[in-house]
């Protein structure tokens, strides 16, 4: 099986390519890249005026399977990914049961083999049941193919426990991803503490609950000489702390999610629970800092933190609604709309954040268009305008913060493992 994509603008920062070239796949690999490739093919796609980039590697998503198949399944979540141009995902371990044993990983691998429509990589918990008490077996988990450890959804509160986790991770060359939050400081708040929490009469989450733990987590990793990746950065202070740590040579990387560079707390005036997530939407100043952090390279990765919840869990009083929003189907479009078109990032920079950097951080052979690599490719229309509509969402859940918003940019074709797995209508 051969697919030839002609005349598209190939963007592959790993190989410093940003020009109009043809690309040919054979079976599941990228076979050739060049000018005017003339070859016998099964499918030829005219990508004139389009961007051809590696499939997106989203290193922060919740597939909910096993345990909460009413919210999302491996099948529906990966289908949703493909629509958004995402061909590889890192599944968070806060399922039910929590992925914290080699047996759990084996069972999950079985489920993935059975129903995944995209590449699903596995993360396991740092601590048993993500309770922050007893560490999981990093050695055995690594042997089962786990690519990162994270208690995402909770912080490891006890610094001693986290320090030991970093030391073990360092020995195993495993990445630890930190959900950095002081749960006591968050104080059951539901939105950012500030003007909006005052106006709406909602309990606020202070920014300190994020950045103080970002600071602590980086310091502990530094002490253990381990790598650390900070998940879902939302506030200015966190960006500054990460920037300083990078400058002094700490092996820290960081991600943010599209809602943090596209939305602010001001959107919350109608108590829309689809704008409720953790960390919460912050202020305009924070949004600007996140954008600057992306531009300057302090923030390495854009990841969706795709967190599906049923309407039953969202269509209730704001304080009672679940935290989290879906994002797989909109992250590419929101990034193009908010970062590329305004000129903040160019195509190679955007592809770095969405594809190359996350693959590099996780040690995956993904995120580039190198000959011989897996044929995970997205053909993108940078100018296609569309409105995020509830009825058109592929994910099992509908809790998108971008509902009814007009976005510019969309995946036209998603190719995963050399097969066309998504084609825009």
């Amino acid at each position: 099986m051969r697919i030839l994509i002609k005349d598209g603008r190939l963007v592959d920062p790993a190989n410093k390519i940003n020009q109009v070239l043809d690309i040919l796949t054979e079976d599941n690999k990228i076979f050739r890249i060049g000018r005017r490739i003339d070859a016998k093919t099964d499918i030829t796609i005219d990508a004139g005026g389009k961007v051809v980039m590696p499939g997106i590697v989203d290193m922060h998503i919740h597939l909910r399977e096993p345990g909460r198949e009413d919210k999302e399944t491996i099948f529906s979540g990966t289908k949703s990914a493909l629509k958004g141009g995402v061909t590889s995902v890192l599944a968070m371990p806060n399922t039910s049961p929590c992925i914290d044993t080699p047996e759990g990983v084996r069972i999950l691998k079985g489920l993935i083999a059975k129903s995944a429509q995209a590449n699903v990589f596995i993360s396991a918990a740092i601590s048993k049941n993500r309770l922050g008490k007893v560490l999981t077996d990093a050695v055995k988990l690594k042997k089962e193919g786990v690519v990162a450890l994270t208690d995402d959804g909770s912080s490891v509160s006890d610094p001693q426990t986290l320090l030991r986790a970093f030391k073990k991770a360092k020995e195993q060359k495993t990445l630890i991803i930190c959900h950095s939050e002081d749960h006591a400081l968050s104080n059951n708040g539901s939105i950012n503490l500030g003007l909006m929490s005052t106006r709406l009469g909602l309990k606020g989450i202070p920014r300190e609950s994020e950045y103080k733990i970002v600071q602590r987590d980086i310091e502990l990793a530094e002490k253990a000489k381990a790598r650390v990746h900070i998940a879902h950065v939302s506030c200015k202070e966190s960006v500054n702390i990460i920037s300083r740590a990078k400058r002094r040579g700490v092996a820290v990387t960081a991600e943010t999610a599209p809602h943090y560079f596209a939305l602010t707390e001001e959107e919350l005036s109608g108590y829309d629970t689809n704008l409720k997530m953790k960390p919460p939407l912050r202020t305009k100043e924070d949004m600007e800092a996140i954008r600057k952090g992306l531009k300057e390279g302090t923030i390495d990765v854009i990841a969706s933190d795709h967190a599906p919840h049923t309407e039953n869990e969202k269509d209730i009083e704001f304080d009672r609604a679940e935290f989290g929003v879906i994002g797989l189907e909109t992250e590419l479009a929101v990034s193009i709309t908010e970062l590329l078109h305004p000129g903040l990032l160019d195509w190679p920079e955007l592809v770095e954040k969405l594809c190359f950097n996350p693959a590099k951080i996780l040690g995956l052979n993904k995120g580039t268009l190198s000959v011989g690599r897996d044929a995970d490719i997205v053909i993108v229309s940078p100018d296609k305008e569309w409105v995020v509509q509830k009825e058109e969402i592929v994910s099992k859940s509908r809790n998108s913060p971008f509902l009814n918003r007009k976005l510019k940019g969309a995946a036209l074709y998603t190719i995963c493992g050399g097969k066309i797995v998504y084609e825009a209508a």
Partner: protein, 314 residues
């Protein structure tokens, strides 16, 4: 002016003109209460449902009296007797009430935003009778009506709000209403009960109670909810009275005719001393009377706006 809102959810979203219109409508309904027969047929054939998720006597009774004086039929639903305990969602409860062909739901809820949510999902009128810490618009409207009666105007008045600002829907609605009408609003509270960025709502934060009272034409004293269990930083009752309680001595340093208001229920000896509560400056009972007129006005206006929009659809 032409009133077009089918709901009253808060004062933040209202214009100055809309607030003034409710007040002037309330003034005309107030006259009704001086008649021998205190009832008008304005809402005859309409059904008003009081849906209360929090214990409340005074607001519920006030709405009930207001609806009855407009000749509406009134149904009271309290959480203890409803299917809420069986796990029904607020929206489902609202849809069921709508299916009964009720015309107005007056909702009191412990979660901020509950009234906004109901209004988004229902076609019938929603009146917010207090949602969490968010808004309690009819309370602020009756406070404004009382101020206007006592002092002849609202614009230019110095009004201080004293007490637990952070957790008070009465404070928020008063801040929106008073600032829109041109009053100078000062808030005064123990430091941990001043919510962040409150100055951005256009109010001044007083240094202490004497500072709050010095220039005030009126002081609105909030109820302290010492029964709150989720805030361990709450001040002790006696400390509160010592530092923030409204006493005769403190009023001696204030303007002579300062108007003292309280939304009730009053904690005597904690928020204010009895001699102040019962004294010449207190308008607490007049507030209660004005509450009826204001709620009559609100029920009348929202029901009428819905009738008008229904007619337009035909």
């Amino acid at each position: 002016m032409n009133w077009t809102r089918k709901d009253l959810l808060g004062l933040e979203e209202l214009t100055k003109e809309e607030i003034e219109f409710i007040i002037s409508t309330a003034e005309s309904f107030k006259e009704v209460q001086t008649r021998e027969i205190k009832k008008v047929p304005a809402l005859r054939g309409k059904t008003v449902v009081n849906l209360f998720y929090e214990p409340s006597t005074r607001t519920r009774v006030s709405f009930e009296v207001a609806a009855k004086r407009l000749s509406a039929d009134v149904i009271n639903i309290a959480t203890e007797t409803s299917s809420v305990k069986k796990g029904e969602t607020l929206i489902d409860t609202g849809l069921n009430i709508q299916a009964l062909k009720a015309d107005v739901i007056v909702v009191r809820h412990n979660y901020s935003g509950a009234a906004v949510m109901l209004a988004k999902h229902l076609d019938i009128s929603i009146v917010n009778a207090g949602d969490g810490w968010h808004e309690h618009p009819t309370q602020a409207l009756l406070d404004i009506l009382t101020l206007k009666e006592k002092l002849g105007r609202v614009s230019g008045l110095n009004v201080s709000i004293v007490g637990d600002i952070a957790h008070s829907r009465v404070a928020r609605s008063n801040i929106w209403g008073l600032t829109k009408l041109g009053a100078n609003v000062t808030v005064c509270a123990p430091a941990m009960l001043v919510p962040p960025a409150i100055e951005k709502l256009g109010v001044r934060v007083a240094k202490n109670i004497d500072d709050a009272l010095r220039q005030a034409d009126a002081v609105n004293v909030l109820r302290m909810q010492f029964e709150r269990d989720d805030e361990n930083a709450f001040p002790k009752q006696l400390d509160y009275f010592k530092n923030f309680g409204i006493t005769k001595e403190r009023l001696l340093k204030a303007k002579k005719n300062i108007v003292v208001m309280h939304p009730g229920p009053l904690n005597r000896g904690i928020e204010m001393s009895s001699d102040v509560a019962d004294g010449p400056n207190s308008v607490i009972l007049e507030q209660v009377t004005n509450g009826i007129a204001v709620r009559m006005a609100v029920l009348f206006l929202v029901a009428q706006a819905r009738d008008n929009s229904d007619q337009e659809k035909l």
